[in-house]
Symmetry: C2
Subunit: 220 residues, 2 copies
């Protein structure tokens, strides 16, 4: 049974890689920079994207894809800002895969896109396994989740190019030690940029946006 | 591809059901009441179990199984309390399944167990699909995660017999409305008992423990 499961997983991941490659070619052809935002449920991905829009909109033609098991709540929060938003409902699936993203890309005018941000399903495990052809993976960790999460979910954090430590304004009320998280990231071999943030209050958003904008510009 | 994936999932779930049934028979034979605790990463499952032990230990012979992707941190926190603790490391798998629980049961003297609490992998999606033969499913939702989680992860909450609203002491600092969560649960058809709690401060722990103890006693 174990061997059988590994075979199935390998086949699913290989299939994902084929679709990711197709997406990658589309992104390259159209000069689209792509970001995969991942985290636990409720760590603040949607709020971070909301607050980042004001920095990005003057500089880039943006698109957003939002993944959720059910509901369109996150997409609704992001609409009406002049940025096209596409919601993917996975109906039970615990992550977005490259084929889902490929389908969602049909809803955009790719000529009109410089920067595509994908908000993944809230889950610290499964999304780490499924790239969709993105340039950057970004993990969000909020302080109330506790500072053991890098150690307990190493795959997600090892693969991420940036780690946003959100809800930093709650740090005095919860058991969270930023030094410990930085040390755990180093122990994983991570060279991720770390951005402390209180997105709901706009704190720390600019530093993250400046960093991301420099990455987009370097890629073009 | 879609149809193929559904077949694989069906087969995996059917296989899980066979192992769950085997576990169920063992639990019945030995008179063991079992609880499956599920939540996002960092919502406080381990702390809730820690704080509950003092209520349970005088009344029941307990065992604990802890599921994590990596590390034995949660198990270490729970050890030294006179209760046997078994850690399952899933090495990437996003949930505990019935076969993993079956394996872990070999580490217990089943004659010496009345109440087995299983702390699942931190994940609001996948664990909802995989019963291990348990009597009760309990979902933990912490206030910093936000009050949209019942709507966004309906399967987990629909299936749970109790919902612990943890970190209620942070409610003034975060965007969380308990009435909204109760309404969302009702809209799902849930009849779950709801327990507001601040586990790290011991608040609300007794009500939950009394409820669970009454369930264990009724089952015997």
């Amino acid at each position: 049974m174990t061997i059988k499961k590994i075979d199935l997983n390998t086949s699913i991941l290989a299939n994902n890689e084929i679709w990711a490659q197709k997406n990658r070619e589309l992104f390259d052809t159209h000069g689209i920079f792509t970001v995969n935002m991942m985290s636990s449920p409720g760590s603040g991905k949607t709020t971070i994207i909301e607050k980042s829009l004001e920095y990005f909109i003057p500089h880039f033609k943006m698109g957003i894809i939002v993944g959720d098991i059910e509901t369109t709540e996150d997409a609704n929060r992001l609409k009406g800002r002049g940025v096209p938003v596409v919601q993917i409902n996975t109906h039970g699936a615990c992550h977005l895969d490259a084929r889902m993203i490929s389908g969602a890309l049909n809803s955009f005018n790719l000529e009109e896109l410089d920067l595509l941000i994908v908000e993944n399903v809230g889950n610290l495990v499964c999304p780490a396994d499924f790239s969709f052809g993105e340039d950057l993976k970004v993990a969000v960790l909020s302080t109330p989740e506790g500072n053991d999460k890098v150690r307990k979910y190493p795959d997600m954090f090892r693969k991420s190019h940036a780690v946003i430590i959100n809800k930093i304004d709650l740090i005095d009320f919860v058991d969270f030690n930023l030094d410990r998280v930085e040390r755990d990231l180093k122990n994983l071999g991570s060279r991720a940029e770390i951005f402390p943030m209180a997105a709901s209050k706009g704190q720390g958003v600019e530093a993250w946006c400046q960093w991301l904008m420099s990455k987009v510009r370097k890629a073009n």
